[in-house]
Symmetry: C2
Subunit: 417 residues, 2 copies
């Protein structure tokens, strides 16, 4: 039997470094042409597999693949699509096998977070459950940093760096303005369930910035929060607030859900930042500014963490090496050895223990009052934002690659998802 081809796809929210993992996968596969044939990328994640919409990455030059390392976003397109269980939707699994067979695919690399690990895990069971020999390896990725076992997740370090740098810079700004103008700056960050990204804002406290963090792990107490802000402003003349999009009241209602309606009575979707800012204005009268970083934070390849880029690449590379060694249903992990100097090795975890498990901030990473980070958290975060890995610029703009993404000729009938 001829050597098998590989399938690679990107899943869920993309990051500044998911393409660095793609680069690690494809470059490593190219180095092992005796073992792995072509790497076919799914256009828009697993949907590309289901619809037989495959991209032939062998049509891309080595230079283009190398440029993925410094290009944010998902070069092959991503998707938000979770495979149902085998019992609930056998048709989809049969289709996957049909596509894999048609294109001689024996390796399945899936690059994503918790939901995607579940998809990858299900695919990894196909050998056993449906008799199709496949090796499925999950490549971790999530800005939320909420995958278990691995010490951190590629994508997170760069968002953390972006938030720490941006919070520092905006805090310098508000400090300059506080005498006659803005006294409070609110920045809203991602993290619906876990406060890892918000915690990164806490790193600026080392530089003397008065900062109050609102974590999703800590139930929002308006009175206590307003008192904490006043205390900071009284002491320093200004204050920066980092609010996680997932910050919520004890009853589970998000701060962003204020039941606001526009002039026509339509419910308005707003951010948590303006809600927090207005709340402070009403209570204390402080002039405020607020920002919602949204996609800017997770796509900010221009200020990516060098550590993060390196790990993203290494995990992609390791995934291919594990496949070549015969592994299935695993995920390469970052195993921390020491904080300072920062040392780690690339390890491995079984997917059964990764899929659908969320890792929250430990309580001892959050200060007693609930509004800051502890020294333990600082020691954890600090190495993850270390180092700069600047993209190449031309005419003032980063030169990010857009691949040709040549489609592989279809061999099968169309499939409706």
């Amino acid at each position: 039997m001829a050597k098998k081809n590989a399938f690679y796809a990107q899943s869920g929210g993309v990051t500044a470094v998911i393409n660095a993992s793609a680069c690690g996968v494809i470059q490593t596969a190219r180095k092992h042409k005796d073992k792995i044939g072509k790497v076919y990328a799914g256009r828009n994640g697993i949907i590309g597999a289901l619809t037989e919409d495959l991209i032939d990455t062998s049509k891309e030059t080595d230079a283009a693949i190398a440029a993925l390392r410094s290009t944010p976003s998902g070069a092959f397109g991503s998707c938000r699509f979770k495979l149902k269980s085998l019992e609930a939707n056998k048709r989809e699994y049969e289709r996957l096998i049909e596509v894999f067979k048609a294109h001689n695919i024996g390796y399945f690399f899936y690059n994503g977070g918790g939901d995607s690990a579940d998809t990858c895990f299900k695919v990894s069971q196909l050998s056993e459950s449906m008799g199709y020999p496949i090796q499925a390896i999950h490549v971790p990725k999530t800005v939320d940093n909420d995958l278990p076992i691995t010490d951190c997740c590629p994508g997170f370090g760069s968002v953390a760096k972006y938030i720490a740098v941006s919070t520092l810079e905006a805090s310098f700004d508000v400090r300059s303005m506080a005498k006659t103008s803005t006294r409070v700056f609110v920045i809203e960050v991602m993290g619906r369930h876990a406060g890892w990204i918000a915690a990164a804002g806490g790193l600026v406290a080392d530089q003397g910035i008065p900062v109050v963090i609102l974590f999703p792990e800590i139930e929002f107490d308006q009175k206590k929060f307003l008192a904490a802000v006043k205390k900071k402003v009284d002491a320093s003349g200004y204050c920066t607030i980092v609010v996680s999009e997932g910050c919520h009241y004890p009853d589970g209602k998000f701060l962003a859900e204020q039941g606001t309606r526009d002039a026509f009575g339509h419910a308005q979707l707003g951010g948590a930042a303006p809600v927090v800012a207005n709340m402070i204005k009403l209570a204390h009268g402080y002039k405020f500014h607020w920002a919602v970083a949204d996609y800017l934070q997770r796509s900010a390849r221009h200020i990516a963490s060098k550590t993060d880029v390196k790990q993203a690449y290494e995990l992609g590379k390791k995934a291919v090496e594990l496949a070549i060694k015969g592994h299935n249903s695993v995920m390469p992990t970052v195993d921390r050895i020491s904080d300072s100097p920062y040392k780690y090795k690339i390890g491995m975890a079984p997917l059964s223990k990764v899929a659908n498990v969320e890792k929250f901030m430990p309580r001892d990473f959050i200060s007693k009052d609930g509004y800051g980070i502890t020294e333990k958290c600082r020691r954890y975060l600090a190495p993850l934002i270390q180092g700069e890995d600047y993209p190449r610029y031309e005419d003032g703009l980063p030169q990010y690659v857009t691949l040709k993404n040549v489609a592989v000729a279809k061999k099968l009938k169309a499939f409706e998802i």
Copy 2:
């Protein structure tokens, strides 16, 4: 008579490079110790002069002053405070003279935008109107890029670079997600009256990004706008919208003023971005994400334009040189010689022609449909974002300087503003 001391202050909204101008002023004054005594900085702008709250910059090391070049925000504090006319508030002018006399101040360097140029102009008239010999030189600064005569304003190039880079990165992100998730990304940028910053978002069109820009100079037409967005999404699968905070309806009402009220009936201050995003969702059903960059854009020293940093420094330096040559009531300017290769020289304009004049985007910088930039605009903007000027990092964070800001001993009675 002993040589005179200089007064320097920062005014209005601060920028990523206003401290580079401060660096230019102070370093150049230090090189001309035969002509200029000490440089006293006003703590919080002109308020520092009125309240005799002066900072002795001679207490700062050469290294600290050099570090200003790569530190965002206003190192001495800024203010939003405009001197009234001499007729309306003679008391303030008398106080200024009292403070200048007490501290032997003969040079007045004011670093700000249009309102500040007005303050500087009024001070420059003191020799004539009140018999106190002073040379007042304005150092231009404004992210809004709306000062007349000068080709561009320090602070603008760096914001433009930040917005162009961020728009590019977020657009790559939404392009990755568009198949099953977000199809429209909206980024709100500064610029209440002039669309210069919004225009910078248009630079990404060169890289094939479908972008729609909402300028304050173009009255908002909802139906036409929604059609423009649909056309882009139909053609490319996604679309990025750059909306200026100053975008407004024909009756002058800002998009951000939607008359929204929270559950308690309080009027809500929101951004233009969520308004635009919700509008698109209602009309076309596209999933959206939105960001409000706010202070992040103007404080983003980490991605400052090298051209901008250089010009900010040069204009500060030139201000001192003009003072030494005996000039009063002028502002050094950037005079463009050619677009490509980009060449300019530092010129000079009379403050009487600068104060209170706003420079808007010329209509021929905006495309016919009102939603993009023209080639002429692109040629204007491109050189201003050229080059990177990275700050020094340690432990993953930029090392920005915080000065000692040692106060000069007061000699006068307190003054109530």
